[in-house]
Symmetry: C2
Subunit: 356 residues, 2 copies
Amino acid sequence: MANPLTPDVLVDPVELTRTLVDIESVSRHEQAIADDVEEVLRLASHLSVDRLGNTVMARTNLGRDQRVVLAGHLDTVPINDNFPSTVVDDLIYGCGTSDMKSGVALALHLAATLPDPRYDLTFLFYEAEEIDSKYNGLRLVAESRPEWLLADFAVLLEPTYGVVEAGCQGTLRALVRTTGRRAHTARAWRGVNAIHAAGDVLRRLSDYRARTVTIDGCTYREGLNAVKIHGGVAGNVVPDECVIEVNLRFAPDRTEKQALEHVHEVFEGYEVELTDSAPGAMPGLTAAPAREFLTAVGAEPAAKLGWTDVARFAALGIPALNYGPGDPLLAHAPDEHVEIGKIRDGATTLHRWLAS
Amino acid sequence: MANPLTPDVLVDPVELTRTLVDIESVSRHEQAIADDVEEVLRLASHLSVDRLGNTVMARTNLGRDQRVVLAGHLDTVPINDNFPSTVVDDLIYGCGTSDMKSGVALALHLAATLPDPRYDLTFLFYEAEEIDSKYNGLRLVAESRPEWLLADFAVLLEPTYGVVEAGCQGTLRALVRTTGRRAHTARAWRGVNAIHAAGDVLRRLSDYRARTVTIDGCTYREGLNAVKIHGGVAGNVVPDECVIEVNLRFAPDRTEKQALEHVHEVFEGYEVELTDSAPGAMPGLTAAPAREFLTAVGAEPAAKLGWTDVARFAALGIPALNYGPGDPLLAHAPDEHVEIGKIRDGATTLHRWLAS
């Protein structure tokens, strides 16, 4: 099949968004879209192109002082009666319109049409962001091609509705366990009820006052929540174990280790088992390209509260932020759509910043 | 196959226990044992015999002022490397030795060897006590042959280790539900955590002071316990529901309705859904045959704390108690056994009481 990413399409980020949406690319099925993207990037003489799995990298090598990464994932969540795209007035509907083919379209448009940018640019179109992180293309690149990520600043074109969301909060999950002694409920006084004992753990959660932390003008709001609880043996047995899974979202001024120590403090006296953790990312807005980017956008940055792939750059010491035309509230929704005006605004802003 | 319940076996309650244990009769597979029991009862000219499913009823009709029921279930829990029986010193090992073929042996021995008892006697050998109560033979008799249960007093030969356990506590299960509002844990303040809200329910359970109630010299000890808890949507979602299953064991001075009202009081402000309930049974030790029985046993009765089929008699207005040679702590255990001395003591006691 002919590559739909024709020169006419590449110069128009709105048309490019529709065309990318109409190449089906649910996670783990990104080969077709990666092939098309790789092919058109190889046609651009100012780019050197490489590939790892279904992740495509292209970069300029102009000898600029600074290098900036523009990155976006090619995959989408499963289609939900929203493929291919449709246009209603100034909205493009379809799976991936907001998350994040409109962002990918901006990066691909710039890669194809900006041969002489102000900074050296690295473009990353990566696979498998929407599923288990073991498949995440950016993670695989960080592991086996870390040199692709070397840069002074990175922009992830995830949906932010045109707002700059800087850094991200870390996340940690742990199991808090209460124990007791089994007995028949007809002779309950012979036992110790582990579910009753969980009341104290839940009280500590209810009483918990989460921190609010401002860094580089971005305000992070932490949170500690029980996300699951289970306990019980049978309808006539005093239970001997209850397990509460808690999720701490922590501002990027805490390391993962400090976050875990904090959870241990909160649940002092109880067994705490770490199950999952990912570091936050400092907003890092003091780097020169970041300041110039903020000037081009002309808006104050906000804190990113969820965890995103910007943390993978932060882990390499590279400041990174999220900025994209999609609407994060529509991500993964059956009626997912993107505003055509936001795509055009994003393209104009990025051009203003990157044109030399 | 020849009926193993020969006259030589029927006169010896110890030999009879072993023979009954060696007729495999896991719940829902009681036909063979019921056939053998029915056959030997029909040979006794002082008994009239009837049958419902695999439940066998035999009774005298001597015109006595009082009628007493002796009842026991024929089924056992599944075999667990403990079939057939073995004898080690003065212990008989095997599935059902304690729960409750030694008790059934006492009743069957009396049925066969006591043609002229002090009271009219009704013997009930019933099916399916160890499984879902919809199969329970005594329940089926109460529903479709209630006249079989008419009596002034009933003894269930469930294992009590030779102690008299009178009446029984009721049991009630209910779901207590807390609700909230879902949100992403990165923006937890937009939600309301239903698991945190469950802390108050658990605190009420921890603080609960259970009643102790003495009736006819029997002391009942109530209890209210969480037996299960579950809640949670996903590792990154503030949960909107948490369900706590509670089990109230209540003294027989409360009706089921009163018990439910009590649970509603304890959890006032929360949704409470009744899932299961069974009434208690008053000890009813003031009936003449009961007093004479206690004299024959020569011991003070204790309260039965668990729920047993005596409540089915109580529901018909018939005082009932548990008294059997088995050891309740060994019921359902792989090393289940019964003491030969307890079987002989039980036979002697029941003879002393029932012989005219």
